[in-house]
């Protein structure tokens, strides 16, 4: 029963961390240069576009500028959408020339929007769009989830501590007579404490082990659908199970909690004893 409470309290935050571990590699490297896509006005010819490219390249906030010619863009678009045939039949290319602008450090959101505004204000520019806005949103969402996970995890761990503390309190109480006798005949606090530390370790580590098993079962259960989802999204990723690291960490955490809790429970009891 105590095992189960401790196990659930540890498995939940564990599952959360594992989920985050799985999501993190799905976000491409966030440190790569943030990119601004610049759609040029349709009337600009290639020479004017190249002039604009050279100008932007001299800006301090710009690291690199790539020109995407309208015919290139059309070809790529046709390939990606499978509509090449249809596009070929058009008598003129509806796409403008475009520039891909990489901003230089610092790549803060503020600096990026400033850059976008400046580019937007140039004549010959139709629209400047930040490429990876969705990505920074995702990053923020993940960060929020992580914080939420940590808070929830802390609450659950506190629950585990309370369950352990209650068990140890009962264990200490059940041996009240023994503690009194042993104290009078010269048992050291360490000697008196030893059985309770073992009790704490037993329930803590046991709960951690059970939590590890729960995590394994859970990840096996959801592995099928999640891996199928990954394939659908064209990701080569595979769900990452808890491995050995997670169960070991959970057992260690449980054991540590059990040890500390029993230490605290017996210390509190002894101080009350000395006071009486």
């Amino acid at each position: 029963m105590v095992w189960l409470v401790v196990a659930i309290s540890l498995a939940l935050p564990g599952a959360m961390l594992l989920t985050l571990d799985n999501l993190r590699p799905l976000i491409p490297d966030l440190e790569r240069p943030a990119q601004v896509s610049v759609m040029l006005a349709g009337v600009l010819d290639l020479e004017q576009a190249e002039a604009l490219q050279r100008e932007l390249a001299t800006w301090e906030s710009v690291e690199d500028v790539t020109l995407v010619r309208r015919d290139e863009a059309l070809a790529v678009f046709g390939e990606q959408t499978g509509l090449s045939g249809l596009l070929m039949s058009l008598d003129h290319n509806p796409l403008p020339h475009a520039l891909l602008v990489s901003s230089s450090a610092p790549r803060t959101d503020a600096a990026l929007s400033q850059l976008v505004e400046a580019i937007d204000a140039l004549s010959g520019v139709d629209r400047a769009i930040i490429d990876n806005q969705w990505m920074s949103r995702l990053k923020q969402a993940l960060l929020a989830t992580e914080r939420w996970g940590i808070a929830l995890g802390a609450a659950m761990v506190l629950g585990a501590i309370l369950a352990l503390a209650n068990t140890l309190h009962l264990a200490v109480d059940a041996r009240r007579e023994e503690i009194l006798v042993v104290r009078v005949i010269g048992g050291s606090p360490g000697f008196i404490r030893r059985p309770f530390l073992y009790t704490g370790l037993y329930f803590g580590a046991g709960g951690g082990l059970l939590a590890g098993v729960m995590l394994w079962v859970l990840s096996l259960w959801i592995a099928g659908p999640v891996n199928a989802l990954f394939v659908l999204y064209g990701s080569l990723g595979q769900i990452q199970g808890p491995g050995v690291g997670y169960p070991l960490a959970l057992i260690g955490l449980g054991a540590g909690l059990g040890w500390l809790t029993s230490w605290a429970a017996s210390a509190r009891y002894f101080s009350r004893l000395e006071a009486s």
């Binding site: 023994e178 042993v182 009078v184 005949i185 010269g186």
Partner: protein
Amino acid sequence: MIEFERVSRCFGDQDALRSLNLTIEQGEMAFLTGHSGAGKSTLLRLLLLLDRPSSGDIHVNGEPTSKIRSRMVPRYRRRFGVVFQDHRLLFDRSVHDNVALPLVMAGFSPTDTARRVRAALDKVGLLSHEQANPAVLSGGEQQRVGIARAVVARPEFLIADEPTGNLDPQLSSEIMSLFEAFNQVGVTVLVATHDLPLISRLRHRIITLHEGRLAGVTAQ
């Protein structure tokens, strides 16, 4: 040698012991007596450092106990064998394991422990009950197990607080004989009791407390 030097112990406005001077010689056997509430238990508790004097000091073999740090208190207590009125045996284990407790605490090897436990049980005449649960023993037998536990680690001092309080005169006399036997092999014995008829027949010093003061000491 145990020396109380002007020892007082106050609980609020209640003085359990008042400026007590008392010496127990090495190898002596003495009785501590007095009415209920006279301060006998308080005196023994102070000696075992289960409580500390409000003023004054207790010297054991010349060493002032007030200088003993709390870390060293368990070791100090192991120099005493303690017998309680209600024997304080643990009913969740056998007679053997009860008696073995002080040895386990002191870290004796299992073989050494077994040998000493059997020797102690033999001295109190309960060797045949080694594996019994103490709960099935009679009151007198339980107290003898308590005495075996008190002496098994061969303490310098044997302290007892009303050890015969729950026993009839016949059994009480047997228990006192046991204490005398341990005294004869060199253990200093101090027994708190108000069983005056019994102790007046024995030839040991009787220390009488009255309201926390020394009221009289008989000659040996």
